[in-house]
Symmetry: C2
């Protein structure tokens, strides 16, 4: 018995677990290509990402170029969920998203915005755009801030890099607006992937480099959370005040091999 | 007896009370030029601002062009205090300040930064600069974020505009760093002006458009706080959960005239 219960499926974060990103691509993390291959052959796998600076297709192309083999249908990103929420609730978002992602939202009505939808906009987090978002939240009654993920930072090849959560925190400080996170650590987001695998919470583990969104988020809803010492991992998180991972491994390959070889007690 | 005790001196916020700013100057708020004139003639006055996108000289020039008559020595801005703190504590700040203000900090050692000093940088709040500040706070042991003021927003001629506090909140969310506010609502900042007037807390009132930094900040240290319905003032603040102003007036002139004419009971 591994980690007290059998592991029948793996939820994997992408950035910092499969690869570290950079402006023009990034680099695969050692062993991760083989680990993904083994998971496809011997278990079930889904990629549960808060990535919002690339479309799923773009992300798949990027990973494929790096040598990964995975199926588009196994990749979960917040954008399609966000689009669904906007349409169902007649929301017209002010889009503060990465320019490479704008196309994904082209069917949404963005005239006369009544909410803000924010992703990891990177260089598009300008003062002007932050101000536009701020004014909508300040001046529109019951307007809400939606963020695709709520991370503090993520790892790029050139170092750690501020994530959407920081810019969301700024808008919340200025406006006291309501805030809804679309993506991890939202229960429904994890569960979409689990259900699609025809498994239950008890069957799967979540492996990620974000102690709060990945590991803590999974654990909070009863999914085992495994921390990986790659990407943005920080040594001080191993004594994190709120989150104790069910297991910690040096990289994805080590964790996958240990679990599939029944070496995690 | 006005407001229960005589008023022997006036602390005034500048932006939103004297004038509303814009990129190339701004516009005087109706009556404020006369109000300042009357205060110089009949009472004592100091201008206690969190302004950090202009030097004191620049601010004086701007106000003079708009028709105000005031003395440079009566203007308090956070930058000189910040410079003093940096020098006394051997701090080498990463400067995230407005480009028009950079010159004011030219004597500081900014090599190999060990803290972040942030002002109202406006267009200089780029993703790149926010990231640089973030990396210093994340990677430097015991590093600290200093912000000149901590406002949520301020009023420009073209509308409300995000203030330094929002960007500070983002960096704090991402790093859990220590944070020190230089400016209002810090007690020592108000008291520098009060002492310079040879008055006590009991003698003065603070008039401002920011319910938290101006009115609440003053009240917290025992100075009467007066809210003015100009600048960034919002109707909902008149039932603010934490702050009840000692008096509320429609504009600076009305407040000054009522107090000096003994009409505030």
């Amino acid at each position: 018995m591994l980690l007290n219960r059998p592991v029948k499926g793996f939820l994997l974060d992408i950035t910092g677990v499969l690869y570290n990103s950079s402006g023009n691509g990034g680099t695969a993390i050692e062993g991760s290509i083989d680990a993904v291959k083994r998971l496809y052959e011997e278990s079930k796998v889904a990629f549960v990402s808060n990535e919002s600076s690339h479309t799923r297709q773009h992300l798949l192309d990027r990973l494929t170029r790096l040598g990964f083999k995975l199926n588009m249908n196994d990749i979960y990103t917040p954008a399609p969920v966000a689009i669904d929420i906007m349409k169902k609730n007649n929301l017209r978002p002010y889009l503060l998203v990465h320019k490479d992602c704008l196309d994904e939202f082209k069917d949404l009505d963005t005239s006369n915005p009544n909410c803000v939808l924010m992703g990891d906009a990177e260089d598009d987090f300008t003062f002007h755009k932050m101000n536009e978002a701020f004014k909508i939240l300040l001046n529109t009654k019951n307007s809400k801030l939606f963020t695709m993920g709520n991370g503090k930072f993520y790892q790029r090849v050139d170092g750690p890099c501020l994530d959407v959560g920081a810019f969301g925190a700024g808008l919340k400080f200025a406006t006291n607006c309501e805030h809804e996170i679309i993506g991890k650590p939202n229960e429904s987001y994890f569960m979409t992937a689990v259900n699609k695998m025809n498994l239950t919470k008890d069957d799967v583990v979540m492996i990620g480099d974000d102690i709060v969104s990945d590991v803590g988020g999974a654990q909070k809803i009863g999914i085992r959370g495994i921390s990986v010492r790659t990407g943005k991992w920080r040594p001080e998180w191993e004594s994190h005040p709120d989150v104790t991972p069910d297991f910690i491994g040096n990289n994805l390959k080590e964790i996958v091999d240990m679990i599939l070889d029944n070496k995690v007690k």
